[in-house]
Symmetry: C2
């Protein structure tokens, strides 16, 4: 039976890419910072990079900042990704980076907004409220979730690195919980690229889970080390998200191809 | 100098109320579940309860579920609260219940969306990403934050109750961090009403902080016990949020007056 990750794996096979293209219409990147220029920015990126994208990841904040107009263009961007999918004959998953986390009745509204109304396939969530806050998003096995485990920001350790009585830091416990909760093969983990030692431990704790790794381009992290540490034994299981590293390059298409190829090359070296 | 909490305290003095009115246009509550009926639902609630509301708390999810239209009506609801404030001659704070939590550059976009574009005064945030994820929201001391500490949902213990090596459960550590981070008097805590023993410990750890207590009406929790446990030594320092307990009553105005008076009565008993 199709699950979110079997769908993602079909796509990674089709495009032989683990590259996730982040759609973050940052105001400094926009010529005129309006919803229209954000839409242009995203549509150009989608068009240029779709053949090489295992997934697209729009970041909710950079749409929400344009208010009602922002939500309208977010839907248009998602529809454009669906059109590119049709053109390519290979459906590209859309991951909404929203990091939601609330009580179940509220999460049901967010899940309806995300999966039904926007038509995306996957969302990022915070684990702070526990399992019942995740359930509205994982009950349909064709929809997926990436749970925050270890993030890449400088102060991520304030909470995520706290040592538990059990001997694990909190992020390790979250990795183990996610592995337990993943009964329908639709839960993955967000693991930052800036902490290689951490990624190694998380991979040991969650050998089967997909990792979403932001933002290899601009938040530091060496691509080769990240892949060698985080890939599963089957040589897959990671989405390498790049946002500004592609969108701010002179030729986003070329930047996406090069990144895709670098990743494939490292995967190949590891297999042989 | 004015801070978010000095502003809130002026309002609680003006209306002699610690009642926070939750604006959750749940789809089951709406005659015809459209953005228009959600707007009517909220405008009626605001009009009926404004004189007795220390604050209003719209829940982002129940607007977002209507897409672009939802963000439009959210802004209209906030403007209606500002109009009621003008009519009453006492500004009523608006707290956006959104539980955001992301890396700083993303949080800056959320902060702009929340404080500048929507014009709200305060937001709920998740602590999982650490201090730099909170900073974009607290740099202006007139804007405030309620940080998730201990939530009221059944599985809140999955993560929040984890015992740390230090001997504290995680939620206690969050309370202590918030007390430390509160240099500008604009950070409070979300503490659920369903765990009285927990609330007692959090109050001991954070004697000065404001608590936002959801949802006393429908998520259980005895009002008297909650107030006696959670109020600060000065007899204030808690916002008692009620959503469905008011919106689903036959006469929301009457329900708000009664709740306001019950709270005042318990505060009075405690002082004498």
């Amino acid at each position: 039976m199709e699950t979110f990750f079997s769908f993602l794996e079909r796509r990674t096979d089709d495009c032989s890419s683990l590259l996730c293209v982040g759609l973050d219409p940052h105001i400094p990147d926009l010529k005129a910072p309006t919803a229209d220029s954000a839409l242009d920015f995203c549509l150009n990126l989608v068009k240029a990079t779709a053949p090489y994208a295992a997934a697209f990841k729009p970041n909710a904040a950079f749409f929400e900042v344009f208010g009602a107009e922002g939500w309208k263009i977010l839907k248009q961007v998602i529809e454009a990704i669906h059109e590119e999918s049709n053109r390519l004959g290979s459906k590209i998953p859309v991951i909404l980076d929203a990091k939601r986390g609330d009580i179940a009745s509220t999460e049901e509204a967010y899940a309806k907004s995300t999966f039904e109304n926007l038509g995306v396939d996957c969302i990022t969530l915070s684990p702070y409220l526990g399992k019942d806050s995740i359930e509205p998003f994982i009950k349909d096995r064709e929809k997926g979730v990436f749970l925050l485990c270890k993030t890449s920001n400088p102060d991520s350790g304030d909470v995520q690195d706290l040592m538990l009585e059990s001997g694990d830091p909190l992020y390790m416990h979250i990795a183990k919980l996610a592995q337990t909760w993943n009964e329908k093969n639709n839960i993955g983990l967000v693991v930052g690229a800036t902490h290689i030692e951490t990624m190694k431990r998380v991979r040991e704790a969650a050998p089967d889970l997909w990792f979403l790794v932001p933002d290899v381009g601009t938040q530091g992290g060496d691509l080769e080390a990240v892949l060698k540490t985080g890939l599963r034994k089957d040589g897959s299981g990671m989405l390498i998200n790049v946002s500004r590293g592609i969108s701010r390059s002179e030729n986003p298409r070329k930047a996406a191809v090069e990144l895709r190829d670098r990743i494939v090359n490292i995967q190949f070296q590891m297999k042989h």
